[in-house]
Amino acid sequence: MTVPVTIRIQDADFDIAAEITAMTKGRTDIGAVVSFTGLCRGIEGDDTVAALTLEHYPGMAEEEIQRHADEAIRRWPAVTALTIVHRVGRLVPGDNIVLVLTASAHRQAAFAAAEFLMDYLKTNAPFWKREERSGESRWVEAHSRDDAALARWSKD
């Protein structure tokens, strides 16, 4: 069976409940759904963040996410559906940034695939965040902890 994969990059907000319903509707083989929602924080260390602006590489971003969705399905054949929505544009604290939804019969595959996809999105998908804090606007630097999180999947 082909695993349904939904990938969208959009300015608009997403509705988690609607995305889960779209993924599970009419299916009785799904026993577990894991969602990861990334939100814009207003606090970064001791600083206040006023807004984030997300830029992406149109075309490449969708293709790279699709490639890694395919890889997740290859690694965890028990995964039965995937949805990835990434927002771009200007976002303020509390706004949704990214949604990863994974479904499987039992929970292990759904959890593992969701973590894998998030680790990948953080480090390899062509998106860049610009942050407004303390009256200045600056590009967010990549975190070494995200590279470390990604590295654990190459041992498999």
Partner: protein
Amino acid sequence: MKVKYFAWVRERIGVDEEIVEPPPAVATVADLIGWLAARGDGYALAFEKPGVIRAAIDRAHVRAETPIAGAREVAFFPPMTGG
């Protein structure tokens, strides 16, 4: 070939894409970075630390030593910070 720039690479260069025709001696991604860096102050600033620059050819991640022959679209950008 078309060259695209993102995030602070784009800001420093001042354009988001352009058509360039490097000479045949410019064979790899690293060569192209060196050639572009000589085009002006914005380029020099964008590529001042070539080691941090990431590149893609025709929408796939590549390394500095990857040949650019046959490339239609080459993109340069900082480490990604999505998710």
